[in-house]
Amino acid sequence: MLDEPLRQSGGYIGQSVPRREDRNLLLGKGQFVADIQLPGMLHVAFARSPLAHATIGTVDVDSALAINGVHFAASGSDVCAELPPINGMQVVTPQGWRDRVDTDILIPDQPLVPEDRVRYVGEAYAMVAADSRYIAEDALEQIEVEFEPLPPLPDAESALKDDAVLVHEQLGRNVAALLHTRKGDGADAMESCPHRLSRRFVHHRYAAMPMETRGVVAEYDGRTDTLTVWSSTQVVHWVRREISTALEMPEERIRCVAPDVGGGFGGKGHVYPEDILVAWLAKKLRRPIKWVEDRHEHILNAAHSRDNIYDVEIGFDDRGKIHVVTSSFIVDSGAYTPVGAGIAGNSIAHMLGPYDIPHYETDCKVVLTNRTPNAPYRGAGRPEVGFAMERAVDIVANHLDLDPAVVRFRNMIPPEAMPYDVGLTYRDGVPMVYDSGDYPEALRRALDALGGLEVIRKRQKDAWANGKYLGLGLGCYVEGTGVGPFEGATIKIDSTGKIMVATGACPQGQGHETVFAQFAADMWHVPIEDVYVTVADTADITLGYGTIASRSTVTASGAIKIASDKIQEKALTIAANMLEVGEADLEMRDAGVGVVGIPDMHVTWREIACAAKPGWDNQRPIGVDAGLEATSYYEPPTVTWAYAANAALVWIDTDTGKLEIEKYVEVHDAGVLVNPGLADGQVKGGLVQGLGGALLEELAYDEQGQLLTGSFADYLMPTASDVPPIEVLHMETPSPLNVFGVKGLGEGGAIAPPVVIANAVCDALRPFKAELNSTPVRWQDIAAITENADRQQNMRADQEA
């Protein structure tokens, strides 16, 4: 399906072109929101709730206003009097999905600053604007507020109790969404299975922790009645849409830009109250306004993620062939659910992974609690469900005394079965069909990269014989990537003949400017230097979707292609006119169009662009309108399916429970790699985040709903010295769904590490018959396993004596 001329041009696609973004960043010339300084700018700070759940009484901001340098202070009721809440469901699901998955969804709207009630520690209840952030924080201390504490709901299970208070009374329940889906005979298939096992799996709460926190700067121009908003976001067009709604301004009068963004990982993938509040205040006070989230605020208030409990039952035969999986899971969504049931929808769709399992049934509750709102974080529902499923596969293997690798091979969809109809519906409303790939081969390569299964097992036996513990952890997944609904691209060829590309994608470090330039350079047969790429600016493209969900390479390349095709068709007509030949004799080459076989007969894009201009002496054929520019929207038919096999070797020190990863391997297939170097970096970065979640990062709450890990002293990010030896191997099975054969890969790396580590630990400790079915994997829990076993052994020895 690959566009042959593209490949033949020996072009840029497939090459590790160095990132054009890096020059500025490495010279310290990047521009992040915090770097923006405007004359007369005021700084905003928010008063944030110290309580998880409380009624707000009077909020007195007068003493705050009295401080020198303070220009504005407002309580929740001041804000609510002027601004509507933010739409509870920023992403709408298509009818096709709602029809095929049973849903019952009640999503609460989110007040920008609540007037009646705070619902999590960190939720704003007042705001101030001052000459500096220092003064603003001084002013916060002067705000007097009366809270009437309500019983806190510190987790999903307490929120589901019959007598639980309601987080949002108007909903009448603490469940934002109920989902149910079924394949084959569903749970009914369980009865005929020779073996059944049930387990509970818990995937704890952790979150995107970008190096750059969130931040917003806004400036209002009264003369033109326009707003410019710089936000550290992954979705500039959503931010513009929500500001437009709240301020009742036309979208076209609002420009939203994401300048350099220092990481997002999903945490910046939706609109937050601050985006709107800062824009509102800039217009209201007619002064530039800045808010930069500090790290403590980020940990408290930027979306958290994961935090699921799965009850799984699995039915299988003597050979380890899995016939049926059922699961019932709850998602602790926190106080609001900015992307609705999206994450849970992902989990439902991804449970069966690379396996051919005929029967499946699942139901899910998305539960409102007094925790920080939950939104997608790299992986978005897949690490959670992957943890449950891939632990379950290992448990099946242990139960039958089979190797977990063997059980995986026995259940995997073979390459001959591609494309494979899963029998479920994706959240874009389209029936799920795995498009291409060789899952068993990925697992084989992963095992080989660790020395091969036989060698691994021999090393493990030797270790056990010497009182040492070595384990093999496996984790396989598939990942729907490049999801719709659309992405946009505007292409313009200006009179210099350079190719201008703008898309709705909003990179946060991925290297989009480089990758999109690679695409465009090949499509236009020009040196890559001739391509200018603009991203993350609503001024450059009317409609865009943004960079979330491993989607931009797939969707933006499609849009760039359609827009380019449109212009090229016209350009060829004009070139034919200029060269006085038929269009059929033309080809694109050497930064322009030439006559096939006649090197001298050639016009450049520059010449064609001049010829295409409106005005006197243009060279357009009659009936061809002026200009070389087009905007197009690519609406992908459905998702492309990336996949991977992960394997790791882990040593356990049974005295302390400390684990050491000898080597971690991921074999990843995202179709054609546009820029292998960047692809590799994406997977590795994701792996490190996954390992952080597996072992270190935790948003822990106490029973009062207080966050216990509110700074980097307690929320432990993996640092360079915590990264084990990692090897990433790429397979490249093209996707048949787009002309470039690409699939998405932004999230993949983060999906498997938690389960790989848990599986490795359990595998190493098989002599103790231990199971670790929750994250994070803690040394103290490992130590407890071995200690208890020691104790039992001693007791047994005592009894025998």
Binding site: Y134, D138, D294, T656, A700, A713, L716, Q780, A784
Partner: protein, 291 residues
């Protein structure tokens, strides 16, 4: 996370600093490397109205051999201690302990005086000074005094320094001949404060009997903990497997840590035993290796 406002003083000499703290006693804080104090100020957990910056007092940064002990000026950076031959040769336990502190950029700013005055229960230096029976020199307008480590550390982030006193020097006895030492800790990430750590120094006689033993723990109490009972069980013995195992058990029993998000109390207690066993073994091996 911006500090509350404060005024800033920059003394050039110790007497000047002493005078300033006397004038503002109560509202003033010294700032050394700032690695502990600045985060506290940013969270507004510490809000001194006067900050006295010790970074421009050259006389406070030195490592000197004074015969029986080495003297380390309070403003000596952890990094300088790490690289000091005097420290490595004469007080190897201090060298070992330093390698466990944080990361290079933090050690390049953080000071021994700051660490000891801050008295974080999980920090390496307080436990090391307690194990080695070091002395702290404190100055005020009232004069100078020398405080033994056992009297210096008293509880969480608390010392016997008076509000008008500055810590100027730490005096660390040199390791005896035939001694060996080890600092062993476990932390969730490399460079983190210890979940449990042990500073150990042993001295052997010619028959490899342990005639001197100094053991202290960090991370497992309100302050550094001297493990006297463990010492008693080991002193006068040769290190057999049984003695080691007893020491491990005794250390486990000797501490009463609190649990937190990073580790339960039980786990910390268990680790204290394991670290004790490992530190003792390593210290004795090193002592034997020296002969």
């Amino acid at each position: 996370m911006k500090p509350a406002s404060f005024s800033y003083l920059l003394p050039k000499t110790v007497p000047e600093a002493v005078k300033m703290i006397a004038e503002h006693s109560g509202d003033a804080r010294f700032i050394a490397g700032g690695q502990s104090l600045v985060p506290m100020m940013n969270f507004r957990l510490a809000r001194p109205s006067v900050l006295i910056d010790l970074n421009r007092i050259p006389d406070l940064s030195y490592i000197k051999d004074r015969g029986d002990y080495i003297a380390v000026g309070a403003m000596t950076r952890e990094r300088m201690i790490e690289n000091s031959d005097i420290v490595r040769d004469m007080c190897p336990l201090v060298h070992d302990a330093t390698l466990n502190i944080a990361h290079l950029p933090i050690r390049s700013r953080g000071t021994i005086g700051g660490s000891i005055s801050n008295a974080d229960p999980a920090a390496e230096y307080p436990a090391t000074m307690l194990a080695l029976d070091a002395f702290m020199v404190a100055k005020s307008e009232r004069g100078e005094r020398e405080i033994g480590a056992a009297d210096f550390f008293d509880g969480v982030l608390s010392t016997s320094l008076e509000a008008d006193e500055i810590l100027t020097e730490v005096r660390i006895p040199k390791a005896p001949a035939n001694s060996g030492s080890a600092f062993i800790e476990i932390s969730r990430r490399q460079g983190d404060y210890a979940l449990a750590g042990i500073a150990a120094q042993v001295t052997l006689d010619d028959d490899e009997n342990i005639i001197g033993i100094q053991l202290a723990a960090c991370g497992v109490g309100p302050g550094p903990v001297r493990l006297n009972q463990v010492e008693d069980g080991v002193r006068g013995t040769t290190l057999t497997a049984e003695i080691l195992s007893n020491a491990k058990e005794a250390a486990t029993a000797a501490v009463d840590p609190e649990g937190d998000v990073h580790a339960t109390a039980a786990y910390r207690r268990k680790l204290t035993g394991v670290m004790t066993e490992r530190a003792l073994r390593k210290a004795v091996l090193r002592a034997v290796g020296k002969k």
